[in-house]
């Protein structure tokens, strides 16, 4: 087989990888904000739940989380009589998203805490409620702070999708492995996916850079 013949199956795999990355990054972003803000809550139940989520998903391996959601959860569901079988895509998106969200939540928390206390005092003096102060004053200043770390996490997430091949998801790594088994042409196949992952990572880095510019426009004027 010629290397060009690998292109079609590999690009099909790449398309799965892209979808996995996009969906799990969205899930991750939602988790990041929900639990990052939750960790700063004065409500102990919300705070406790957020801390538990962050520590559990940061403190266990992604591979184990993936296997747990895909293999163990259905069995646990069986035991209590609920059908918790997840399609591979759902299990992959969920595991990746929850995992990256736990790291993202710490980024969100740190960025919110880096907003100067005097900003909250000014907000209070103008009679904003704590909720308004968070959404209108603190978060818009914190989000540009988060962007470089978010960029790292998004690229990390892309590379982590390769683990999803282990629950028989037909992503780029999975397809590559299949071709390799078939042809024994390891060098060509692995070199090709190396460049494909790298290309996708560059696109993500570029997109995150644009996003960073968009949310931080006010930081660049007048300096």
């Amino acid at each position: 087989m010629e290397w060009s013949e690998y292109l079609k199956p590999l690009s099909q795999g790449a398309w799965i990888t892209i979808q996995l990355t996009v969906y799990s990054t969205i899930v991750g972003a939602i988790c990041s904000f929900a639990f990052g803000i939750g960790k700063l809550s004065t409500n102990w139940a919300i705070k406790g739940f957020s801390i538990a989520y962050i520590e559990i998903f940061r403190g266990t391996s992604l591979l184990v989380q993936l296997f747990w959601l895909y293999f163990a959860l259905p069995i646990a569901g069986d035991a209590i009589g609920i059908d918790l079988r997840l399609p591979p895509v759902a299990a992959g998106v969920l595991a990746l998203g929850l995992n990256i969200g736990a790291y993202g939540a710490e980024v969100v928390r740190g960025a919110i805490q880096s907003v100067r206390y005097s900003q909250y005092e000014a907000a209070k003096a103008l009679n904003f409620s704590p909720r308004q102060a968070l959404w209108r004053i603190a978060l818009p200043q914190a989000i540009p702070e988060m962007m470089p770390a978010f960029g790292n996490l998004a690229v990390q997430n892309l590379k982590d999708t390769a683990l999803a091949s282990l629950i028989s998801l037909g992503d780029l790594a999975f397809v590559a492995e299949r071709i390799r088994n078939f042809t024994q042409d390891s060098t060509t196949v692995y070199t090709m996916i190396l460049f494909m992952y790298f290309g996708m990572a560059l696109v993500i880095a570029g997109l995150m850079h644009l996003l960073e510019r968009a949310v931080g426009r006010w930081r660049r004027v007048g300096h």
Binding site: K124, L126, F128, R219, G222
Partner: protein
């Protein structure tokens, strides 16, 4: 005699064992312009921060505009104030900060209109009209679309004043409004505060080291020392004929420094 609009009654403020306000009694009449002077650590900024509800008191009672600030009357006794009560009381006060504390991610216009629109629920057009008037008053009409980082310190502080006034407070608190400014920018901010001092209804409480300015605009000067009012009187009395040795010492140090 008119009732005071601000009344401190044996107010104590402590940080741990450090006493900042020591059974402070202190009154301000409606419309009065009062300047608080005193050495650092005398509790003068703390008075303003407590009034703006940025700091709690340790004991005592404060009345603002006839109502207890940090307490609520329930069944004839004073209980600690609820957030709803504090919110109502805060609406009576506006504050200008030493470091301006503008919102860096908002234009000048939005800095001024954000609270009137979202807190007072004013229609946007009305909030903008009001902001334009205020910007005219502080001489920054041309700068409405700019971000704070594009302005000089003096301009930022004038926005800070306009932002506080946009909430139509009865009482304005100025916490060392010119202390963070380069000397050549102090004048423009004092001019604005001076023109406000001419407004009859507005009660003003000013903490400053600008003694000449304090003398010009104040009805009364209070000299704070160790958490108490050591001496107070008209600017004439305090600056020309201070009775207390501590006041004389302080003024000598400040005016010669």
């Amino acid at each position: 005699m008119t009732e005071p609009i601000i009344k401190f009654d044996k107010v104590v403020k402590k940080y741990g064992t450090h006493v900042v306000l020591d059974e402070l009694d202190f009154d301000v009449k409606p419309g009065e312009k009062v300047t608080i002077i005193g050495p650092s650590g005398s509790g003068k900024s703390t008075v303003l921060r407590i009034l703006m509800t940025l700091e709690e008191i340790s004991s005592g009672v404060i009345h603002v505009d006839g109502e207890p600030l940090w307490h609520e009357e329930r069944n004839g006794t004073l209980k600690p104030a609820s957030e709803a009560h504090l919110k109502k009381m805060r609406a009576k006060l506006g504050m200008v900060f030493q470091q301006f504390n503008l919102f860096p991610h908002m234009s000048v216009m939005r800095n001024i209109t954000e609270a009137p629109i979202n807190v007072l629920k004013l229609p946007k057009a009305e909030a903008r009209d009001r902001a334009e008037q205020l910007l005219k008053m502080v001489g920054l009409t041309e700068h409405a679309h700019k971000f704070p980082s594009q302005l000089s310190g003096g301009q930022q502080q004038r926005v800070g004043i306009a932002r506080a006034l946009a909430m139509r407070p009865k009482i304005m608190l100025f916490d060392e409004p010119t202390s963070a400014l380069d000397p050549e920018l102090v004048g423009e901010v004092l001019n604005v505060i001076g023109s406000l001092a001419a407004e009859h209804d507005l009660t003003m409480l000013l903490v400053t080291h600008e003694m000449r300015f304090a003398r010009e605009v104040s009805d009364r000067i209070c000299f704070f020392d160790r958490g108490k009012v050591k001496e107070q009187g008209t600017p004439e009395q305090i600056f020309s004929n201070p009775k207390e040795a501590r006041t004389r010492e302080f003024l000598k140090a400040v005016l010669e420094g």
